[in-house]
C-alpha cells in the first residue's frame, strides 16, 4: 500500500492551507439527497469538482432509542431495537437479545441457537442484496443500469423476506427472539422453501456479478476509489466487510463465536485493496458464503426445545440488580455490539449500542478528500451505512 498522499490528510485539518485555483464551493450533500442512504448530511468543500474537505453530520434520524430502552423492561427492548438497522432487523434484534441473555445468564437451547444462525445468515444475504442494489443505484442512477440491478436484488430480497414472514408472520419487524430462545418454531415445509430460495439466489448471484464487478464501467468507477488503509480502519473501529476489504482478517463469527458459529466453520472473506471495488467483491463473496452457511444451519437444525425454561408471561420475570455486559455479533455491517448496565428492577440502567455503520461513516472525512462529487456517492454507498443504526 502506497503512503497516504499528503494532500489527503492535511487539507482536511486545515482548510485555510489549501490554495484553490478557482473559488472553493461549499456544497451540502444531504440530508434530502437521493444517495445519502437515509438522512446523512455531508458538507463538502469543493475545488471545481474535487473535494477538499468533507464533514459528515449525522443525527437527523436520532430517536433516542438507547434512552427509551432504559424505560423498558428487558422483554420489551428487542422489538424496539430491531428498528435500528432497518435493513437487517433480524441481527439488530439478536444483538440485544444476546446481551440480555448474557446479563441474565440464560441458557439458550441448541435448536434456538442454530435457528438464530440460519436467520442471521439469511438476513446477511438480504442485507447485502439491498446494499448491492443501492450501490449500483448510486453509480448508475434510478434512470439507468443501477435501477435494473436494484430491481433484481430487491426481487431476491423479497424471497428472504417471504421466508421471514412465513416464520414470524411479519416481514420486517419480527420480534421473534425472546430471552432464552426463539418465539416462532420452523413451520412445516419452511426448510424446503428456504432451500428453494437459496438455490435461486445462488443461481442469480453470478448475474449480478456480470452487471457489477465484472462490468468494465462499474469497475472503472470503483477501482482505486476511497481506499481505506487497514491502520486507519482499525483506528476508527471500522468492522465487518469494510474492514475485511482492507485486508484485515477479522470476523466475529470465527473470532468470537456467538449463536452456533462455533459448530459450523465460517470462511472469512477478505480482499486487499481496500477500495470500493474490494468492498463490493467482499460483500458479493460473503453472500455466497452466507448461502452456504444458511443451508448448513437449516440442514443441521437439531431437535429439541426452542426456549429454555418456562415461556415468558410477564416482563417482571427477569430481575437483575447489578452487573454489566458487552455482547457483540457480526451483523451484515460488522460488529454490532451492545453494552448493557443492569439497573434496579426490570429495565436496564444504561444501554449503549455500538453500531458498525457509525464507525464506517467516521471514515468519510478521510476517504472523501481528493475524490470528486461523483465518487462521494460511490464511497458512501460502498461503506453501507444505515442511518437508523448510526443515529439510533
Amino acid at each position: 500500500m502506497e503512503a497516504t498522499p499528503a494532500w489527503r490528510k492535511l487539507p482536511y485539518r486545515r482548510l485555510e492551507l489549501y490554495e484553490p485555483e478557482g473559488d472553493l464551493m461549499t456544497l451540502q450533500l444531504g440530508p434530502q439527497h437521493p444517495s445519502t442512504h437515509g438522512v446523512l448530511r455531508i458538507k463538502l468543500h469543493l475545488d471545481g469538482e474535487r473535494i477538499v474537505k468533507a464533514v459528515p453530520f449525522p443525527g437527523y434520524l436520532h430517536r433516542a432509542v438507547e434512552k427509551l430502552c432504559e424505560q423498558l423492561t428487558y422483554v420489551q427492548i428487542a422489538p424496539i431495537v430491531d428498528k435500528n438497522d432497518y435493513v437487517a432487523p433480524m441481527t439488530s434484534e439478536q444483538a440485544i437479545i444476546l446481551a440480555i441473555e448474557k446479563l441474565l445468564k440464560v441458557e439458550v437451547p441448541r435448536r434456538a441457537r442454530w435457528l438464530r444462525s440460519a436467520l442471521a445468515e439469511l438476513q446477511r444475504v438480504a442485507s447485502h442484496l439491498l446494499w448491492l442494489g443501492t450501490m449500483t443505484l448510486d453509480l448508475g442512477g434510478a434512470l439507468g443500469g443501477g435501477g435494473s440491478v436494484f430491481v433484481y436484488t430487491m426481487r431476491e430480497r423479497e424471497l428472504v423476506l417471504d421466508l421471514f414472514e412465513g416464520l414470524t408472520g411479519s416481514r420486517f419487524h419480527y420480534n421473534t427472539h425472546t430471552v432464552g430462545g426463539n418465539r416462532h418454531d420452523v413451520p412445516a415445509g419452511w426448510a424446503k422453501d428456504m432451500h428453494a430460495a437459496l438455490d435461486l439466489i445462488e443461481k442469480r448471484i453470478p448475474e449480478y456479478e456480470t452487471l457489477t464487478q465484472n462490468n468494465r464501467l462499474f469497475v472503472e468507477r470503483m477501482r482505486g476509489i476511497g481506499v481505506l488503509e487497514p491502520e486507519l480502519a482499525l483506528e476508527l473501529g471500522v468492522t465487518g466487510p469494510n474492514l475485511r476489504a482492507s485486508g484485515v482478517d477479522h470476523d466475529l463469527r470465527r473470532d468470537a463465536p456467538f449463536h452456533a458459529y462455533d459448530e459450523v466453520a465460517t470462511n472469512v472473506i477478505t480482499a486487499k485493496a481496500g477500495d470500493c471495488l474490494a468492498r463490493t467483491q467482499v460483500r458479493v463473496a460473503e453472500m455466497k458464503e452466507s448461502v452456504r452457511l444458511a443451508r448448513a444451519f437449516i440442514d443441521g437444525l437439531p431437535e429439541g426445545p426452542l426456549v429454555s425454561g418456562k415461556p415468558i408471561k410477564l416482563p417482571g420475570q427477569f430481575k437483575v440488580n447489578s452487573g454489566q455486559v458487552y455482547a457483540a455479533l457480526e451483523s451484515a455491517r460488522g460488529e454490532l455490539g451492545t453494552f448493557l448496565v443492569a439497573g434496579a428492577g426490570t429495565s436496564p440502567y444504561r444501554l449503549k449500542i455500538r453500531p458498525p455503520s457509525y464507525h464506517a461513516i467516521s471514515a468519510l472525512p478521510y476517504l472523501l478528500p481528493g475524490h470528486t462529487v461523483s465518487d462521494t456517492v460511490a464511497i458512501l454507498g460502498s461503506l453501507d451505512p444505515i442511518m437508523g443504526e448510526v443515529d439510533r
Partner: protein, 119 residues
C-alpha cells in the same frame, strides 16, 4: 436555397409547437394561493445554501473549451478537403497529415501535462 427555406419553415413549425406548449402550460398552470419564500429557495438538500453558487471557476474548464475550439477549427478545415478528397489525391492527404500532425503535437503535450483532466 430551397433547403434553407425548408429549414426556416421547420424552425417556424417548431417554434409554434413549443410556443403552443408554453402557452398551454401558462394557461393551465396551478397557482398557489399564497406565495411562500421557502418554496422559492434554491434546493440544497433541505439545508440553507452555504455560500454563493456563482463562483469563480477552475481554469481547467477553460482549457477544455479552448481545445474544443481548436480541434473544431481543424475539423472545419477538413470538410472542404473531405468533399474534394478523391480529386486532391495523395498530395492533399499529405498536407492534411502534416496539418493534423502539428496539432497532435499540442494534443500530446496537453495529455502529458494533464491539462485535459477534469476535476
Amino acid at each position: 436555397m430551397s433547403g434553407w427555406t425548408g429549414l426556416f419553415v421547420f424552425l417556424v413549425v417548431s417554434v409554434v409547437m413549443i410556443g403552443g406548449l408554453l402557452a398551454a402550460a401558462w394557461m393551465l398552470r396551478v397557482k398557489a394561493r399564497r406565495d411562500s419564500p421557502l418554496k422559492r429557495h434554491a434546493y440544497e438538500c433541505g439545508e440553507e445554501p452555504d455560500g454563493p453558487a456563482w463562483i469563480r471557476f477552475h481554469p481547467r474548464y477553460y482549457v477544455v473549451a479552448l481545445f474544443f475550439v481548436l480541434f473544431d477549427v481543424e475539423a472545419a478545415f477538413f470538410f472542404p478537403w473531405a468533399i474534394r478528397e478523391r480529386a486532391l489525391g495523395w498530395a492533399g492527404l499529405g498536407s492534411i497529415v502534416v496539418f493534423t500532425g502539428v496539432l497532435l503535437v499540442g494534443w500530446a503535450y496537453a495529455l502529458r501535462k494533464g491539462a485535459l483532466k477534469w476535476q
